[in-house]
């Protein structure tokens, strides 16, 4: 009997397997901690400041951006996107019939957890699902017609507070935790994690570029980037950034990449959607 008691006592020692794992904070608790961190870092920041991102830290670039915003290139893309979105499929049906509220004023709530598949769905994926359900082929997620339609849909959500929900479903929570894990994990030979630049180093400069704080970044996407000469979704930016730091980019539209967007967009919950936007 004393051997059994000793074995139980041994197993209850930390690390021996019988103790429960340390619970992760809930997504809401996380958000409070993160907001608090950035409030201390940038005590004077308003919602507009968070959305301005790197332009808070460089007067020259900010004034260049403001000049571009007089006649923003994204406006042309929004018009194109609206035409594409309102063009019926060959079978006569429309995108509006697939999407909640006809697609109007919902972009700020994506990506969403899809209870049917148990996975995260971006608005781009929802558009492609609609196409395939109506006998059309899926579009490229990162370039061309799909980001144009995304830009139009984002425009209908302009000003609405980003609202990414993590429902009370263990699969949703798992996706959120996976996205969080990716965000905070070192990747590639230089060992950079997203948080290295956009958390502690936010406001500083890497080579010629000031670093935007994590909270607020997602409000600006999809964005027309001068570098691309095109409209692109946030996952295109994630891929570019991963390449910039020497890491292998995650594949768009699936798994870890979607979970990362789920976590990262949620950081901007409550901030007005400021998309589409323009960036260098």
């Amino acid at each position: 009997m004393k051997y059994i008691l000793a074995a139980i006592a041994y197993l209850l020692l930390p690390g021996m397997g019988a103790t429960p794992a340390v619970a992760e904070p809930s997504p809401d608790a996380d958000l409070e901690i993160y907001r608090d961190y950035f409030k201390k870092r940038f005590p004077d920041f308003t919602a507009e400041n968070y959305s301005l991102g790197m332009y808070n830290f460089n007067e020259d670039k900010r004034s260049q951006w403001e000049a571009i915003m007089d006649f923003p290139p994204y406006e042309v893309v929004v018009e194109t996107g609206e035409k594409l979105f309102n063009t019926p499929f060959k079978n006569g049906k429309t995108y509006a019939e697939c999407l909640q509220n006809g697609g109007i004023g919902i972009a700020h709530t994506y990506p969403r957890f899809d209870a049917e598949t148990g996975k995260i769905k971006t608005l781009s994926m929802a558009i492609n699902e609609c196409r395939e359900a109506n006998g059309e082929t899926a579009l490229n997620l990162l370039k061309g017609d799909l980001p144009a339609m995304l830009a139009y849909l984002a425009e209908t959500s302009r000003g609405k507070p980003i609202d990414i929900e993590v429902p009370d479903d263990p699969r949703a929570l798992a996706a959120y935790q996976d996205g969080k894990r990716i965000y905070f994990t070192r990747r590639g030979p230089r060992g950079f994690a997203c948080y290295h630049c956009h958390w502690e180093a936010a406001g500083s400069r890497i080579r010629g570029n000031e670093l935007s704080p994590a909270i607020g970044q997602a409000t600006n996407f999809p964005a027309y980037r001068s570098k691309w000469g095109a409209m692109g979704p946030i996952q295109r930016r994630y891929k570019g950034c991963m390449r910039n730091v020497g890491a292998k980019p995650l594949k768009e539209g699936e798994g870890g990449m979607n979970n990362l967007e789920y976590f990262h967009r949620r950081l901007s919950n409550g901030l007005p959607s400021n998309a589409p936007n323009n960036r260098f």
Partner: protein
């Protein structure tokens, strides 16, 4: 048919090839250790560290100044560049240049040669 290699021909050949290997490509050879180190530092360190001579330096990390005075032990600098996570016992964002094979030992020494001029 036999060929006779004269002494003068042979010595011309040998001397000529010596000249070619050490003289004709003088541009690479003439770079001092400090110059080579500076090239590496501009490419690899400037992104985060400002130092004299940089134009697009980052501000994420401490500027590199008075390096000989601050790091009199060469080995200490080597360890920081090789694996800063171990050397500084921290979660620093500085990449483990040596450990992850971004530079080799010789390149670290060249970088230190340059850093010691700052």
């Amino acid at each position: 048919m036999t060929y006779t290699v004269t002494k003068s021909f042979a010595s011309t050949l040998i001397f000529g090839s010596f000249l070619l290997s050490h003289g004709a490509f003088a541009a690479e050879e003439a770079k001092t250790a400090v110059e080579q180190g500076k090239e590496l530092a501009v490419n690899l360190c400037q992104a985060c560290h400002h130092f004299e001579g940089t134009e697009q330096a980052g501000t994420v990390a401490p500027p590199l100044v008075a390096m000989k005075a601050r790091f009199p032990e060469r080995q200490k600098l080597y360890e920081i560049i090789y694996d800063p996570h171990v050397a500084t016992k921290s979660h620093t964002m500085m990449p483990p240049f040596g450990r992850n094979g971004l530079v080799d030992d010789n390149q670290i020494q060249l970088i230190i040669d340059f850093l010691y001029t700052l």
